[in-house]
């Protein structure tokens, strides 16, 4: 099983996210994450999908997505030629014993404390999913209260996906 990042430009129209999500469900694709947000042109959104599977799964996902009427561009984002980021907000227990360690880890990972209260410390970090995963594991023994991550966004270097 390989991991693929696929980006799609979709028209900002009624039910388009449902169409995309519904497609994954009924075709049985194995999706790790799906993010969606407006682009430089407010009439379009960009959906980034990370898929687990083989090359055939990737090709099927791309061609099935292209069939959807409100989907304008779909492209496999080559890992070597792109920048990939995810954001995490993670809340850890604030105790006398772990306080300084959280701060040290935050420093090392170039993360940032965004909330500090007597019970919890909330940290934000961006990075590749692998770095995020490592960050979670290093904080886990200190007592994670809650975490949320955005899922991956990715962009190719140089050209735009619709200039292919």
């Amino acid at each position: 099983m390989k991991r693929f990042v696929i980006a799609a430009l979709v028209e900002n129209k009624y039910g388009v996210l449902t169409r995309v999500a519904g497609l994954f469900m009924r075709k049985g694709f194995n999706i790790d994450s799906l993010t969606v947000g407006e682009t430089e042109d407010s009439s379009f959104s960009r959906i980034t999908i990370t898929l687990r599977g083989d090359d055939n799964d990737k090709d099927q996902l791309i061609s099935q997505l292209r069939k959807l009427h409100n989907v304008t561009y779909v492209k496999h984002i080559d890992e070597k030629n792109s920048v990939e980021r995810e954001l995490i907000l993670i809340k850890v227990k604030n105790t006398v014993q772990n306080r300084s360690e959280i701060m040290a880890i935050t420093e090392i990972y170039r993360a940032k404390i965004v909330d500090y209260n007597p019970k919890t410390i909330c940290v934000v970090m961006t990075g590749k999913p692998s770095k995020i995963n490592a960050f979670i594991e290093i904080l886990r023994p200190l007592g994670i209260v809650e975490l949320c991550r955005t899922g991956v966004v990715a962009i190719e270097r140089n050209k735009a996906i619709y200039n292919v």
Binding site: Y14, G15, T18, R19, G22, R26, N56, D59, Q60, S63, Q64, R66, K67, L68, H69
Partner: protein
């Protein structure tokens, strides 16, 4: 025509007329009252056929589309009206049939409040439509309908649903008549792929051309024959590909797969090159994909990119406008002669004759399935549509009907919808402006026989041949073969008298048990310019053979019930 301000409901009808629609099927209700009001006013320009049930209306629109190649149109009200369309829309989706379904919905102010007869039909039909719309503003209405037609008929066709809330039907907006919208242009196939295909074709000694419903959609019958002649190949088809090539054509081997012709399935197995055109290599046609064509190269041509490599891996995949790609391939490939291949095919045909003799022995004094179709073939015109329901009778129709023109076979292939046939036959008869034949079973017919009322009301000449064995034959056949003859809920034991039923609905009906009786009845029915039921009683133990068991391949062919159940 200048711009006119008019209510949304009239925009709906004017846009349908603008798009060349002459016939629609449907059923009125609270949230489409305004649209029906406009239909009433425009009844001199557009015909509406009132069905007995929205499902029947949807199947009629589908049958109309299959018989004519035009987009079928169905109208239903919100809530139950809309959900009753679901099976009809799904049937069209699985067989890539162009259809536009228009539903009313509650006013936008009541949407999301579980109002009376409110259902989110765009949500319900999302996975079974090519696309669907909820029109929230009358400004978008005409263009949405135009785009719906465009999507329905472009590339690989399919059903499109438009949900229109009542306030949008009432609101007024400018309408200006435009021309019939053209399908989206299809992209040209890649020349590199075409050259790769030509290379494989030139190297092949045993080419087999395997065609599906896409060939009928794209009107490729003539080109397929040209290709077969140039490369000295033979043609087999899927259920959906039936009628694309006339049965009498010497290079045509018939349908392959689970209940296909022996020579067609075998030729596919023996071939060193399979050229799949407008097919999706469905499990019913290919059997076990691991064993499928493992010694052959595969070239796949389709207008839908996602079909390439979906079910089987193709050595060469050609996507785009298939008619152009085929012309190029025919032009570029060498003229070939494969004497050995011809001999193989001749041998297979001889073997198939033996099998068919063994399979089609009439075992009782009742008429046998093959005899039914011998009579139908003798009497019917070449351009008469034969529609079916789903089950044993459908497979017999596929095996034994002689098709001479494309679009004369109307059958639910992908979804396998029992209850499809009567509505579809009505639609086909309306579309072709000719009588249609419906071959059905007593099980399938029982599902939607209420549409008899429609056939009678509009005097639509449908010759209904019920192949009546008193059982759910196909399921029972599987129970015989794979479930130890435990006939769970397949012996109907009903007391339905189809002749009296015909009388009650106001059409003629008769019951026959022998070939002579059937021939006489069918002759009369075919001449009558009215619907007609022939209740044709056959033995309950008739089997559809040959059969490749599910997940099996041609090596596992079953040619005798006795041997298979020993």
């Amino acid at each position: 025509m200048a711009k006119h301000k008019m209510p949304g409901s009239r925009i709906v009808i004017e846009t349908l007329i603008e798009q060349g629609v002459t016939d629609v099927f449907g059923y009125p209700g609270g949230q489409v009252l305004n649209i029906y009001d406009e239909l009433y006013k425009a009844s001199d320009r557009i015909n509406h056929y009132l069905a007995a049930h929205e499902q029947g209306a949807a199947h009629a629109a589908d049958g109309y589309a299959r018989a004519t190649g035009k987009v079928g149109v169905v109208i239903a009200t919100s809530g139950p009206g809309a959900t009753n369309l679901v099976t009809g829309i799904a049937t069209a989706m699985l067989d890539s049939i162009p259809m536009v379904a228009i539903t009313g919905n509650v006013p936008t102010s009541l949407i999301g409040k579980d109002s009376f007869q409110e259902i989110n039909i765009t949500g319900v039909t999302l996975p079974i439509t090519k696309h669907n719309y909820f029109v929230s503003n009358v400004k978008d209405l005409a263009d949405t309908i135009r785009e719906a037609f465009q999507i329905a008929k472009s590339g690989r066709p399919g059903p499109v649903l438009i949900d229109i809330p009542k306030d949008v039907q009432i609101a007024e907006y400018d309408f200006e008549c435009e021309g019939v919208i053209e399908p989206y242009p299809q992209k040209k196939a890649d020349d590199k792929e075409i050259d790769a295909a030509v290379d494989l074709i030139n190297k092949a000694q045993k080419p087999y051309i395997y065609i599906g419903g896409g060939v009928i959609t794209a009107g490729l019958s003539k080109k397929i024959k040209e290709l077969a002649e140039k490369i000295d190949g033979y043609i087999g088809c899927t259920l959906m590909g039936l009628s694309a090539i006339e049965n009498s054509y010497e290079r045509f081997l018939g349908m392959q797969g689970m209940h296909g012709q022996y020579e067609s399935s075998m030729a596919n197995k023996e071939a060193d090159l399979v050229i799949g055109i407008g097919v999706r290599f469905s499990d019913r046609a290919t059997g076990n994909v691991k064993k499928y064509s493992k010694n052959a190269k595969v070239i796949q041509l389709d207008t839908d990119l996602s079909e390439i490599n979906k079910n089987i891996k193709a050595d060469v995949g050609i996507v785009g406008k298939i008619s152009c790609a085929l012309s190029k391939i025919i032009e570029k490939c060498d003229k070939q002669k494969h004497a050995e291949w011809k001999k193989t095919i001749d041998d297979l045909r001889a073997e198939s004759k033996k099998i068919s003799k063994k399979v089609n022995v009439v075992k009782s004094d009742k008429i046998g399935p093959k005899q039914v179709f011998d009579v139908i073939n003798k009497i019917k015109d070449n351009d008469t549509v034969v529609a079916t329901d789903v089950g044993q009778h459908q497979m017999w129709a596929a095996q034994f009907t002689s098709f001479e023109k494309p679009r004369t076979f109307v059958s639910s292939g992908g979804l396998g919808t029992m209850g499809y046939g009567l509505g579809a036959a009505i639609g086909a008869a309306v579309g072709s402006k000719k009588r249609a034949i419906l071959v059905t079973g007593d099980g399938s017919f029982g599902m939607n026989l209420n549409e008899l009322a429609t056939a009678v009301t509009y005097n639509i000449p449908v010759v209904i041949v019920i192949i009546n064995n008193g059982v759910l034959g196909m399921v029972r056949q599987w129970q015989t073969l794979f479930y130890g003859k435990r006939y769970s809920n397949t012996v109907l034991g009903r007391k339905t008298d189809f002749v009296k039923l015909a009388d009650a609905f106001g059409l003629k009906g008769e019951r026959v048990t022998t070939v002579q009786e059937f021939e006489k009845a069918f002759g009369n029915a075919y001449k009558a310019n009215a619907p007609y039921i022939i209740d044709t009683v056959i033995d309950m133990d008739e089997f559809v053979l040959p059969m490749l068991p599910p997940g099996g391949s041609i090596e596992d062919i079953i040619t005798s019930k006795e041997e298979a159940t020993k």
